[in-house]
């Protein structure tokens, strides 16, 4: 396990590389979710990385610019930039592990971004796993706003100090530019012309899934596996559950 920074001096990204077996030709870039979901799912992403590594696969986990331990603030972040960050992570992993192709595994918004990147890097991305990806930007934001309101309701006080928190979501800044970008997210259009073998792993049903199934075809396959959502807090714990069976299935599918 090697934690390190990579990327350019103006866009330093935190990464954690876990080597696979000595002769491994498989490598995976893990693309995390955003905001509160990133924090809650961190230990599942770590666990997935460890399972992949134990299966002999090289793994790079990383944080997008303006998130986690990476440089920058949300004010300077945008989806296009995060897609470029995934591209930078691909280059880094290819270079570090000595492989020519990688698989991408993304959770929630990370899955959606991974699908966009895979569409533009078909020669380099050999497999794609979209774990409960964000299908529709409006649906995603509505879901998070609802959760934000529910949490505020359960607290004894409204947790707004001085200032306006309307450009924040679940404790994370969501600048207007980013919000508008997320509103335009449409996974169906990213997968319409997909030629990369793609697994859509669904553990949490969304109303947008019917449209996603109808709008995609082979080599995009769907699997459903009901489990606790890794990206939501187990009450009072601060982090999400680890859905071990989902992780094991992803490793099996990649391997």
């Amino acid at each position: 396990m090697t934690p390190f920074y990579f990327g350019t001096s103006s866009r330093r990204l935190f990464g954690l590389y876990t080597p696979g077996s000595a002769r491994a030709s498989r490598a995976v870039v893990l693309c995390p979710p955003w905001g509160q979901e990133y924090l809650r799912a961190h230990r599942s992403i770590r666990h997935l990385g460890n399972l992949l590594s134990r299966a002999g696969i090289h793994v790079l986990r990383f944080d997008y610019f303006g998130t986690g331990d990476s440089a920058g603030e949300m004010a300077d972040a945008d989806l296009k930039g995060w897609q470029n960050d995934i591209g930078t992570a691909i280059e880094e992993l290819k270079d570090t592990a000595g492989v020519t192709r990688v698989a991408l595994v993304g959770l929630r918004l990370g899955g959606t971004l991974a699908a966009r990147v895979a569409a533009g890097r078909k020669a380099e991305v050999e497999k794609l796993v979209l774990w409960d990806p964000v299908v529709n930007g409006d649906e995603y934001l509505t879901e998070m706003r609802k959760l934000d309101a529910e949490i505020a309701e359960t607290l004894a006080m409204r947790t707004t100090g001085p200032g306006d928190d309307s450009d924040r979501l679940l404790g994370f800044d969501l600048p207007e530019r980013m919000r508008k970008e997320i509103e335009t997210v449409d996974l169906v259009s990213s997968l319409k012309a997909a030629s990369t073998p793609t697994l859509v792993m669904v553990s949490h049903a969304l109303s947008s899934h019917a449209g996603l199934r109808a709008g995609t075809k082979h080599p995009v396959v769907f699997e459903e596996m009901a489990s606790e959502p890794a990206w939501l807090e187990v009450k009072g714990v601060g982090v999400g559950a680890i859905p071990v069976k989902v992780l094991q299935r992803i490793v099996e599918w990649i391997g």
Binding site: M1, P3, F4, Y5, R12, F14, L16, Q36, L39, H42, R43, R46, T67, G68, D69, A71, L155, A156, M157, R158, T159, T160, G161, P162, G163, D164, D165, R168, L170, G171, F172, D173, V237, G238, V239
Partner: protein, 298 residues
């Protein structure tokens, strides 16, 4: 604004198993006498902290000239579990010591200020009394035993709520319901099973007298060491600022303690106002306290 710091990932501890990040002011030199600030995990949230608060605090402290390290305790975040089986508190204290040892050896840091939220605050308070290298602690929402006045506030507030009275009239009073459920469970479980449940080891609780004594002793050691403390409580957990002092009536913190109360904040300082407010407070406290400490040492 020009960035005045740089960040580096590192592995701490004798087994290089604790993953951390160091935020270093660009202008810092090896001869810098300022202490290093070390930020601990809160609960099992990884080193980035709730709402990315730890990262923002580290960078704000680096802007003020202080090198800051954040790392994951063993088994949390990216750090490997310890190889030997230790009780959780002992493991956390051993991790902190090993991390400080690494930072002393590799980074020439000789003095430290520990910062923690929730369990991180507890670890900082308990550890600081045992290591002379620690010269100050920032405790955000530490666990403190509720005082009599806390209970008065708690039940007083409930008592004046119309909804509480309505619930009681409907037979939906929460306390009554809890008691009813406990009694029913005990009857259903049967005498033998109930007896075996009583034999199960019970987790220590903040209201236990021995926990209160343990914490009182820990804070007593900090006072004996003359360690400056910044303690911050929030309105989500406590009803009033002096809860901390009332929890330990036998202790005399005097001028060592700066006690602050964020009445409108939740436990993890989620709102922008609370988050920026507590960050500013910590940076100001570190600058003021450490400057005063340097003069004192000179």
């Amino acid at each position: 604004m020009t960035q005045t710091w740089s960040e580096q990932a590192l592995l701490l501890g004798p087994r290089k198993s604790l993953v951390g990040v160091i935020t270093k002011p660009t202008a810092a030199s090896a001869e810098d006498a300022r202490p290093m600030i070390v930020i601990l995990n809160s609960g099992i949230v990884h080193r980035v902290g709730a709402n990315r608060m730890t990262v923002q605090l580290a960078r704000a402290l680096a802007d003020a000239g202080y090198t800051t390290a954040r790392f994951d305790l063993s088994g949390i975040g990216d750090s490997e579990p310890r190889t030997e089986a230790l009780p959780p508190l002992d493991a956390a204290l051993a991790d902190i010591r090993e991390a400080l040892d690494s930072l002393e050896t590799a980074r020439k840091a000789r003095r430290f200020v520990l910062v923690g939220l929730c369990s991180g605050a507890n670890h900082a308070a308990i550890y600081a009394g045992s290591d002379d290298r620690v010269i100050g602690s920032v405790l955000l929402e530490p666990a403190i035993p509720p005082s009599l006045l806390h209970h008065v506030h708690h039940y007083g507030r409930k008592a004046v709520r119309l909804e509480s009275w309505l619930r009681a009239l409907r037979g939906e009073n929460a306390l009554v319901e809890r008691l009813k459920k406990k009694i029913a469970a005990r009857i259903q479980a049967g005498a033998g099973e109930a007896a075996s449940q009583l034999d199960e080891p019970r987790q220590p609780h903040i209201t236990d007298p021995e926990v209160k004594t343990f914490l009182e002793n820990a804070y007593g050691r900090l006072i004996a060491r003359g360690l400056p403390l910044l303690v911050v409580l929030t309105g989500e957990s406590w009803y009033y600022r002096e809860s901390f002092l009332d929890a330990f009536p036998r202790l005399r913190f005097g001028s060592l303690l700066q006690l602050e109360f964020f009445e409108n904040a939740d436990h993890v300082f989620t709102s922008r106002g609370a988050s920026t407010g507590v960050t500013r407070l910590i940076v100001g406290w570190v600058e003021r306290t450490m400057r005063a400490g340097s003069r004192h040492a000179a």
